[in-house]
């Protein structure tokens, strides 16, 4: 745990020279993403010299739900699973919050937020429990459950409606301290950090990486595999609930139809350097990837490119980056 401060990669890095090189290599992807993001900001400034604080703010607000979805997906994929219910759970928590807050006081909304976060935790734990006890592949279980939670969201609210407490919307509609830092970004980093930083340093966090890396080896080392998986799904549910609340903040209402967040989250974690095989990657990479994708989309809009074409570019980037990544890993293995 000596190299726990590294930005990405498994928390257990050795103190030896080889260990340092290895952890540097693992962080290389993250450094690359940071570089790419900075480059994109320069490009954006070149395209649109007036790009400033207000554009940055709307960028952060727009990316907030996707960022929570990506973080949620990253946690479960690191533990060797995959969660296709994220979009549905976001819709469910979003409408639950909107329905409960309709007509309620501002103080009551605090209780609602706590309740909705707990709801996400419970729903996620239930997902994990079903994965563990049915022994059906994660992708199938969560695929089936995505129908269930989407249906539940429709039960809560038939059509878009409800409302959101003013203070909740106020959390992201401004800048923090100085004009260049959007409140939405601060909220995102605080929310993710409060959950993830203590978790990653805990026994449970280490178990998650262990189970994702090699299930059998983890089991033989005395890790409670089933309980770890359920915990990972629960944390994913919690982050999905944050995503649902962020939808409430940006739209002010509840929408009972799942957005494209599940697929976007998978795209973001892969760009962010989380291996779909599990056990590898962190949360910083996916977060950077979300903002890179959002910035590319914004740039294409500034360039007057057909907004639909942005989807094409996003798909191409996803595939190309993964190909490059696969090539790099291959070369490293043969070298």
């Amino acid at each position: 745990m000596s190299a726990a401060a590294e930005t990405a990669g498994r928390p257990a890095g050795g103190g030896t020279r080889a260990g340092t090189v290895r952890s540097l290599w693992r962080s290389a992807w993250t450094f690359g993403l940071v570089g790419l993001l900075l480059l994109l900001f320069l490009v954006t400034r070149a395209i649109k010299p007036t790009y400033g604080a207000s554009e940055l703010e709307s960028l952060a607000i727009g990316a907030l739900p996707i960022a929570f979805a990506a973080v949620a997906q990253a946690v479960v994929v690191i533990s060797g699973g995959i969660d296709l219910t994220i979009g549905s759970v976001m819709a469910l928590t979003n409408v639950t919050a909107a329905a409960l807050m309709a007509g309620g006081s501002e103080e009551f909304a605090v209780l609602v937020v706590v309740f909705v976060l707990l709801l996400g935790l419970v729903v996620g734990a239930l997902n994990g429990l079903l994965v563990v006890i049915t022994r059906v592949p994660d992708i199938i279980v969560t695929l089936a459950l995505s129908f269930v939670w989407a249906g539940a969201a429709l039960l809560v609210l038939k059509s878009p409606g409800g409302s959101t407490a003013a203070w909740l919307k106020g959390l992201i509609d401004d800048t923090f301290l100085i004009v260049w830092i959007p409140e939405a970004l601060v909220l995102l980093l605080v929310a993710v950090g409060v959950v993830w930083l203590p978790l990653r340093r805990s026994r449970l966090g280490l178990s998650m990486y262990a189970v994702g890396s090699d299930r059998l080896a983890a089991f033989r080392s005395g890790v409670a595999v089933g309980r770890t998986k359920i915990a990972a799904y629960a944390v994913t549910g919690l982050f999905a609930a944050m995503g649902g609340l962020s939808l409430s903040m940006s739209t002010g209402i509840g929408i009972p139809v799942p957005g494209p967040y599940t697929l976007l989250s998978v795209a973001a974690i892969v760009l962010g350097g989380v291996s779909l095989a599990g056990g590898r990657g962190g949360l910083l990479g996916p977060l950077l990837a979300v903002f890179i994708l959002a910035l590319i989309r914004a740039d294409l809009t500034f360039l007057n490119v057909d907004p639909n074409f942005a989807t094409v570019v996003q798909g191409v980037i996803l595939v190309v980056v993964v190909m490059v990544g696969a090539f790099a890993t291959l070369r490293r293995r043969t070298a």
């Binding site: 199938i140 695929l143 249906g151 429709l154 039960l155 795209a267 989807t311 996003q314 191409v316 993964v322």
Partner: protein, 332 residues
């Protein structure tokens, strides 16, 4: 049954149980057909007016495109992959066909549509077979690319209008003699070809070999990348056919026509007993799986369940069937 040693009551009971299980594992189609019969019986008990050929033809009409779409998932899942681009590719085929029909006539339009789907499949195949991109990611990226390209294409074609030729509508969505769904004319040869290829043709065996143990297959001299390349082109073409049939059934075409059938197509293959990890499964189960899902949808509609409850039950039943299946096959 014959090999069970009769050493004691409990032991022979357990052995009989095991051989019963083995019998079931070798014939996964049996419980599936029973489940289908059960669903149909339940439906007919609730709604006796549906005991007629017209209803059955309607079920077949909707099950056929789903079964074709699920063929893509079955074949790719046999190699341990998955094709998440089928819905986008199928919608693309439907939309290209409908918009090209006014200018080119239906035959050329269909050929153009299928060429586009084969091209999409080829790109998938190159990514997965040659560049070793994870199939989930490659086909996900492909679906984004196709969806975006089609939306751009849609803006260009906004003046041409979209037409489903009468012949296409008859073949894909028509019914003859009151009970025969015309789409069976396409589906029966197609399904026979898939079933035959998987059982008797070298290519089918290669799919199982690659899915079962890719390294062993490579060491045995299989050119895995060629198998995967061919597979994803076939998957693209099948998705194209499914999209055209969907367009014929609904008599509409849009860039999101087939989107909502993506998850059911995966579900049909899984219910049908194809393992997502590769190497195990087949197409006959998938066909029954597609029928089960279609009858289930019909049943939930007949029960006048509100849409949310319908979705919840749909998901719960898929999970229950998959769990029961894993229970039976895992304890062998």
């Amino acid at each position: 049954m014959t090999t069970a040693p009769a050493t004691g009551g409990r032991a022979s009971g357990a052995a009989a149980m095991r051989s019963w299980q083995r019998w079931l594992i070798e014939r996964p189609i049996v419980p599936l057909v029973l489940l289908l019969a059960l669903l149909v019986a339940a439906l007919w008990t609730i709604q006796p007016d549906l005991r007629n050929a017209t209803w059955a033809a309607g079920i077949v009409r909707f099950a056929v495109p789903l079964a074709i779409l699920a063929a893509c998932q079955t074949l790719t899942m046999l190699t341990g992959g998955i094709d998440l681009s089928v819905a986008a590719v199928a919608s693309m085929a439907a939309y290209i066909m409908a918009t090209q029909t006014p200018a080119q006539g239906p035959v050329v339009a269909i050929l153009l549509a299928l060429a586009a789907t084969a091209a999409a499949g080829l790109v998938n195949g190159i990514g997965i077979g040659v560049f070793r991109v994870h199939p989930l990611i490659m086909t996900l990226g492909m679906s984004l690319v196709v969806l975006g390209l089609m939306t751009v294409y849609q803006l260009k074609m906004v003046t041409s209008g979209s037409v489903i030729a009468d012949g296409v509508a008859w073949l894909g969505g028509g019914t003859s003699f009151g009970f025969f769904s015309n789409s069976l004319i396409i589906f029966v040869p197609l399904a026979a070809l898939v079933l035959f290829s998987l059982r008797r043709v070298g290519f089918g065996r290669l799919l199982y070999a690659v899915g079962d143990n890719e390294i062993a297959a490579r060491l045995a001299g299989v050119r895995v990348w060629q198998v995967l390349l061919t597979l994803y082109v076939i998957s693209g073409l099948l998705a194209g056919v499914a999209g055209i049939v969907y367009a014929a059934v609904t008599r509409t075409a849009s860039v999101a026509l087939v989107e909502r059938f993506l998850l059911p197509s995966v579900a049909a293959a899984v219910i049908g007993g194809t393992s997502i990890f590769g190497g195990r499964g087949g197409y006959s189960g998938t066909i029954v799986g597609a029928l089960i899902l279609t009858v289930l949808t019909s049943l939930l509609t007949v029960l006048q369940m509100p849409e949310p409850v319908r979705q919840i039950l749909f998901g719960a039943i898929i999970l229950a069937v998959a769990a029961a299946y894993t229970r039976i096959t895992d304890e062998s």
